[in-house]
């Protein structure tokens, strides 16, 4: 065999490499710390700011002052509480509806082989990339016609545009992961498709439904454009709009302390849920994208 005169990279001493590895490790931990600060500091700062009263707000002490006045004000603020209730109502209703519609569609798209399956999936995907503004005109007409203008229920309908394609896509990916054998026994026994879905697949899909439901809930909770457009008066607003529209008479009178308190309140449950269910959520997000 012709031998190439291979220039082997000089192998240095074991100690040299040990040192190099330690330096690398330190740099990596440093980088990771930077990432943590970058990610978490703003939220921490919002919390800190929300606990400073009056003039303290304008100094940059890094620790929270633990004055919860703003929070007390919020609880007594009917607009804020009302918006929380509206958001909860809309998000829960949207999520439930989308999950039902989605799982039904996912069964067809994921477990039954029919010729137009790919086409339908493609269309669902295309709907999910609609810019919302594009359906505003038609949606306006529809909402008015249904008499739902300036009612939170209108949002349940409009949110379906975003949440249903989303839940359909993700649940389809999840439902495909179950082995064929599950249904084959049932089919041999003469089970109808509905029974297969309800009695066999659905019980197994608890985690998938949970992840998809959480993601759909977050989507509905955070929505802004439709909420801004279809609700006019304070008592019908949802949380994002309520916060977005808090304004003083000019820039210098922004009640930032209150805004920060509202921000923290609104997002704390979200963050808690996200952190508790993080594995499921990541699975849901990436299932849709990577395997699709």
């Amino acid at each position: 065999m012709t031998d190439l005169s291979l220039v082997r990279p000089a192998r240095k001493s074991s100690a040299y490499y040990r040192g190099r590895r330690q330096v690398l490790r330190v740099l990596q931990i440093l980088a990771l710390s930077l990432v943590l600060i970058y990610t978490l500091f703003p939220y921490y700062w919002a919390f800190v700011s929300s606990t400073k009263q009056g003039a303290a707000l304008y100094r940059s002490v890094l620790l929270p002052a633990l004055d919860f006045t703003y929070y007390r004000e919020l609880i007594n603020n009917p607009v804020f509480i009302g918006s929380l209730l509206n958001s909860a109502y809309v998000a829960v209703a949207t999520t439930c509806l989308s999950l039902v519609i989605g799982i039904s569609a996912a069964y067809a798209l994921g477990r039954i082989d029919f010729p137009q399956r790919r086409a339908v999936l493609m269309i669902v995907l295309m709907i999910s990339i609609f810019p919302q503004v594009v359906v505003l005109s038609g949606m306006f007409e529809l909402i008015n016609w249904l008499g739902l203008f300036n009612r939170p229920s209108a949002l349940i309908l409009t949110y379906l545009l975003s949440t249903v394609p989303f839940t359909t896509w993700i649940l389809t990916t999840f439902i495909r992961e179950f082995p064929r054998e599950l249904e084959e026994a049932a089919i041999v026994d003469g089970c109808s498709h509905l029974r297969i879905l309800l009695k066999i697949l659905l019980p197994l899909m608890g985690p998938s439904l949970a992840s998809t439901g959480i993601l759909a809930f977050i989507l509905a909770w955070n929505e802004f454009l439709f909420a801004l457009t279809f609700t006019l008066t304070d008592e019908n607003r949802t949380v994002p709009v309520a916060i977005g529209l808090i304004a003083g008479t000019n820039r210098y009178e922004y009640p930032f302390g209150q805004i920060m308190a509202a921000s923290v309140t609104v997002t704390l449950p979200l963050i808690a849920v996200v952190l508790i269910f993080q594995r499921r959520i990541v699975a849901g997000l990436t299932a849709g994208a990577v395997k699709g």
């Binding site: 012709t2 031998d3 190439l4 291979l6 990279p9 192998r11 074991s14 100690a15 490499y17 590895r21």
Partner: protein, 369 residues
């Protein structure tokens, strides 16, 4: 010089200890096989040699240099994976030559070398294909080619043939043996298949639960196993074992076991024998009443060129006997007897250590006298 030595190497993952205090020396040019049951740590040990896993304690040396903290990329070893680990997005040609790309070698020289290695491994007609288009055996050759092209000092094989069909395995086994004959480089090979170990190795390292049970040539391990584990692991079909009792009577002792077994004089005075072992080919099947040991002939397997009898000894133990020819079918399901020569017996203490016969010859006491 490509010798490998490990001194007091241990490895734990968290609190789970996988390798315990391993000492090992491999000479330049040797073909050494690490063998043992699943989970014994042989792959972990191999990866420690490669530098893919760092040892928790102890020293690894290659060619006399301490490489314990040297990263895998600088150790000059080649690794052939069980799953081949080929780069899926590259052609076979690029897969083989990839390591040379960063060595400052001219493109045509790389191509020439790749061509040469591919021809030697008979994959030169596949150079433009992607790994997913190849069969298992072809992928394995490409993986070996990738290792070869770097002219490494040491080859490491991690169960390379486990995923192949039986006949392909045989063929590749021969090719690897031939490779070693041609290159004479140090090779460390990991397998759970003891017959691969027996046929390929200059020396075998038998591992169990992260400890070395014995190191020796195939012949040494076969004829002189150091303990119960090695005796039962090496050799196919497996050695037959039987739990026995050592009884003291008057001035001498003898060993008694089920089926009327009696062997005179325990070989080691201090430690009682708890088990005896004997290989299937050392037993002879004889009519009932005429042998050393009574049994029930339960089943016979006829493999064409070989015949094995399965005999129940006592109430629980099943022994395998290699028969010279097909037995009388009427004898199946009926009592029979086994006979053997005493020097083919192996004796084991309760803790598994092998007890060697003492200088004094011992007599045979028939159970039936």
């Amino acid at each position: 010089m490509a010798s490998v030595s490990m001194e007091s190497v241990s490895k734990s993952f968290g609190t789970h200890s996988v390798i315990h205090d391993v000492d090992l020396t491999i000479d330049d040019g040797e073909f050494v096989v690490f063998v043992g049951p699943s989970g014994c740590g042989k792959s972990t040990l191999l990866r420690i040699v490669a530098g893919l896993i760092s040892a928790s304690s102890g020293t690894v040396k290659i060619g006399g240099d301490d490489v314990t903290d040297v990263p895998a990329s600088k150790r000059g070893v080649a690794f052939v994976f069980q799953s081949y680990a080929l780069y899926p997005h590259m052609t076979v040609a690029r897969n083989i030559g990839f390591a040379l790309e960063t060595m400052g070698i001219r493109r045509d020289a790389i191509a020439q070398k790749v061509q040469q290695v591919a021809r030697m491994l008979k994959v030169d007609h596949l150079l433009n294909r992607r790994p997913r288009e190849l069969s298992g055996g072809q992928r394995q050759r490409v993986a070996i080619g990738r290792a070869l092209v770097r002219q490494p000092e040491i080859f490491l094989f991690d169960e390379p043939l486990s995923n192949l069909d039986a006949d392909l395995r045989m063929e590749m086994r021969m090719e690897i043996a031939k490779l070693h004959d041609d290159l004479k480089t140090t090779m460390i090979y990991v397998t759970h298949d003891q017959s691969e170990a027996m046929t390929l190795a200059d020396r075998i390292v038998v591992l169990n639960h992260g400890r070395i049970e014995q190191i020796g040539t195939p012949s040494e391990l076969y004829r002189q196993p150091g303990n119960r584990f090695v005796a039962g692991f090496i050799g196919s079909p497996r050695m037959n074992f039987l739990a026995v009792e050592t009884q003291a009577a008057h001035d001498d002792e003898h060993i008694v076991g089920p089926g009327g077994l009696a062997i005179g004089r325990s070989p080691s005075d201090a430690i009682p024998v708890a088990e005896i072992g004997i290989r299937p080919e050392a037993l002879r099947l004889v009519p009932t009443g005429t042998g050393r040991l009574d049994c029930m002939l339960e089943r016979v397997e006829d493999l064409g060129h070989e015949h094995f009898a399965y005999c129940r000894v006592g109430s629980g133990t099943l022994w395998v006997v290699r028969l010279p020819a097909a037995p009388n079918p009427d004898a199946i399901g009926k009592p029979a007897a086994l006979t053997f020569d005493d020097h083919s017996l192996f004796f084991f203490a309760a803790d598994g250590t092998r007890l060697l016969p003492s200088a004094e010859p011992f007599g045979v006491r028939s159970a039936l006298s």
